[in-house]
């Protein structure tokens, strides 16, 4: 793979330094402070630490026994599966379809982008009204079909599903745009050659498109699993504080809650460290799986 062009390492610095300088100053240094904070006792955001925790690693001990955090990790694991299958999966199907049609491609590409640009507050409100107990769209519709009695869609039995559907739906467009860009990077000549060889449409997808798209799909899956770890706004608007009965915690919402609601900033910093570690580990796993896959 390595070509002789890229032997001169001197250029490397010029390519890498500007980007990483920005990140070092505005991301890595502040996050080192965050790691430091996770050992301190800090009672509100912006306040100075009141000294070391006793013992200094106590937040990490606390995490091991935290029931809500366990729920959050479990829900986040489900969320990862949902984002991989629901977001990336649907996006791949839609992108392949749009790539294969002659008319209207531009239209679909534009409208699929819509959900990402709307703020979570507005979407949260809309979904709240759709699933409203007395009487949102769904309950009105069921009543029309002759169902008696109202269903509380946000109770313990339904909450997790009702939280995940909007999150899944919102970000399909995001992966769709990334994938369709990847499709456009594939040179048209390859398809022309294949067509001359008499390949069917399915064969072209199977033997040209998917293999060439593999790196981009891998990127999408990395973004999906890391995204699941930090997703916050839409779930928080619909189900604040893990409502009902702490059933809907996610790592992202739980971290926010610890920082802003309970003002346990040091513990929140520790959860942030956990999220970063999990993000690196899961993305490593994804990269490994995709590297070993046959194509």
């Amino acid at each position: 793979m390595e070509s002789s062009i890229y032997k001169k390492k001197r250029n490397l610095l010029v390519f890498l330094v500007p980007a990483f300088l920005f990140m070092a100053v505005f991301l890595y240094y502040p996050f080192l402070k965050n790691i430091w904070n996770s050992f301190q006792n800090i009672s509100s955001l912006g306040a100075a630490g009141k000294g070391w925790n006793e013992p200094w690693y106590s937040n990490y001990v606390k995490m091991a026994g935290d029931k809500n955090l366990r729920t959050a990790l479990f829900n986040t694991l489900i969320m990862m599966a949902v984002t991989i299958v629901g977001q990336v999966g649907i996006a791949v199907v839609l992108a392949l379809m749009v790539d294969n049609i002659k008319r209207g491609g531009k239209f679909f590409r534009t409208v699929y982008f819509f959900p990402i640009v709307i703020s979570a507050t507005a979407l949260g409100l809309m979904f709240n009204l759709i699933f409203l107990y007395d009487k949102g769209m769904v309950n009105q519709f069921l009543e029309m079909l002759g169902k008696t009695g109202l269903t509380d869609w946000k109770d313990s039995a339904h909450a997790l599903i009702i939280m995940m559907i909007p999150v899944m739906w919102q970000y399909v467009g995001f992966y769709f745009v990334i994938l369709i860009t990847g499709l456009n990077n594939i040179p048209e000549d390859l398809y022309e050659v294949a067509a001359i060889d008499g390949a069917t449409r399915w064969q072209r997808v199977r033997y040209i498109t998917l293999p060439l798209l593999r790196n981009v799909i891998c990127t999408c899956v990395v973004l999906a699993v890391t995204g699941a770890l930090k997703v916050f706004d839409l779930p928080w608007v619909m189900f604040p504080k893990g409502m009902p009965l702490g059933k809907t915690w996610l790592t992202g919402t739980y971290m926010y809650y610890q920082a802003f609601n309970t003002k346990n900033v040091d513990y929140s910093s520790a959860i942030a460290v956990l999220i970063v570690v999990l993000g690196i580990v899961t993305s490593k796993i994804v990269n490994k799986v995709f590297k070993e896959a046959e194509y």
Binding site: S44, L45, G46, D134, K154, P240, K241, L245, G246
Partner: protein, 447 residues
């Protein structure tokens, strides 16, 4: 393509201004460059009922004194609090700040970054002289008074009289007892309505406060117990048990654990629930719900608003129903930085004095409390019917007590606030939950 050219130009402009800025850095602090400016941060912004009053007052002050106000007011939320705190830490605090006087102010008072009223009076003897000093809340840190209050708050029980009439229940008054309240709830429930609009899952705060207040007295309410068995400890447990009993009888909406606060509030304004315990700011919220255009008071549906009233919270113990939770939780601070700056000291004092004259305070306070020694008469004709009812209610109040939860802040609240659903469903016993919170509180204060 054009767009891209524009972007490049804009980016170029930014780089130029960056260079220009670097050159200027030799001067002193860039906000303090002009001695005729004052930086002010308040919470009178966004949909705060006094946002417009504040803007008008600032404009008038600028005109009168020839001082430019750099106003960085913002809606009061957690981000705002964090911003204020960070500003003090980084030494970029405003000259004048309108902020909470409770635990939220502890950190900058501890570090001596604001000036106390007494210290200001040594040089400006008339500073806040129109205020009744007994009503100005002292700091939790050193018992000194720092913040000059303007408008206060109270918490009361709003009623939807339409629902009460449909259930054949009378509008409660000053001598309303707990037993009457329970009997009325039963009637309302039998008539097919929700007796109490509350989201125990999201905002149990008002019920938490009053349920405990029901078992304490105005004198003792603010004492945080050291354990469940001592001081107010049993009162706290009894309060939680009361909420549980109401929940078990089905007096809260069916989805009180999964609904958000705006949903249950909509039940109340939509004529599906009878009672709502909430703060004085909901007077505006209910009026807005009765306007076809929430921004325009002239579109108010007066008949609809007349169906709402506000009254005292029924009592279940020693306190009288007319003893309410309320007080003055915010005020104007002058920062040490501005005080030590000769160019700003005078302007900062003048600004606070201007914002706390009798007339100004009366205008901001409306039906809520104020600390004025001699409050000017209010002209009731300018108020809507609910505001008038609120003024009437306040006239009969026997005492206003601060909220215990303002002292019981942060992590210690988890077990009884966010844990309220677990308490009412019996997953955790009230006693255990209170004990857990008190233990956390003890840890916090010990530090």
């Amino acid at each position: 393509m054009k767009k891209r050219v524009v972007c490049v130009l804009l980016a170029g402009a930014m780089v130029c201004s960056l260079l220009a800025g670097c050159g200027k850095k030799t001067g002193s602090d860039s906000t303090a460059g002009d001695d005729k400016t004052l930086s002010v941060t308040t919470t009178f912004a966004g949909e705060d009922g006094n946002a417009q009053n504040y803007k008008d007052a600032v404009a008038a002050f600028e005109k009168q004194e020839g001082v430019k106000i750099n106003d960085s007011s913002a809606t009061s939320d957690e981000t705002f609090k964090a911003r204020v705190e960070t500003d003090f830490q980084a030494g970029s605090e405003p000259d004048v700040l309108f902020f909470f006087n409770g635990a939220d102010a502890n950190s900058f008072i501890e570090e001596g970054k604001v000036v106390s009223i007494d210290e200001i009076r040594e040089e400006y003897p008339d500073y806040a002289s129109n205020m009744n000093d007994d009503l100005i809340a002292p700091s939790l840190v050193d018992d000194k008074k720092y913040a000059v209050p303007v408008n206060g708050y109270w918490e009361g029980m709003f009623c939807n009289t339409e629902v009460l009439a449909a259930a054949n229940v009378e509008v409660p008054g000053a001598d309303y007892t707990w037993d009457q309240f329970l009997a009325d709830c039963e009637k309302i429930k039998a008539a097919g309505y929700s007796p109490i609009a509350a989201s125990l899952g999201e905002i149990p705060h008002y019920w938490w406060e009053y349920s405990i207040f029901n078992h304490t007295t105005p004198e003792t309410h603010l004492e945080i117990p050291t354990s469940v068995d001592e001081g107010n400890g049993p009162a706290w447990v009894a309060g939680m048990e009361d909420i549980k009993a109401l929940y078990e009888k089905g007096y809260f909406p069916e989805n009180t654990l999964s609904a958000k606060d705006d949903e249950t509030f909509a039940l109340f304004t939509g004529g599906k629930a009878a009672f709502l315990i909430d703060g004085s700011w909901k007077v505006g919220g209910i009026a807005a719900a009765c306007q076809s255009d929430a921004e325009d008071p002239s579109t108010l549906d007066k008949d609809k608003l007349d169906k709402f009233t506000v009254t005292y919270v029924p009592t279940n113990g020693e306190r009288k129903a007319t003893d309410l939770i309320g007080g003055l939780s915010m005020g104007y601070y002058i920062s040490k930085k501005a005080w030590d700056d000769d160019a700003k000291r005078d302007a900062a004092v003048k600004f606070v004095e201007y914002m706390t004259t009798d007339d100004m305070v009366a205008k901001f306070a409306q039906h809520t409390a104020s600390a004025l020694k001699a409050a000017p008469e209010v002209d009731e004709t300018q108020f809507n019917s609910l505001q008038v009812k609120a003024i009437d209610m306040m006239a009969g109040v026997t005492s206003l007590t601060g909220a215990a939860q303002d002292l019981f802040n942060g992590e210690c609240r988890i077990s009884t606030f966010d844990g309220m659903p677990q308490i009412v469903t019996g997953e955790v016993s009230a006693k255990d939950a209170v004990a857990e919170g008190l233990a956390t509180y003890a840890d916090q204060t010990a530090e």
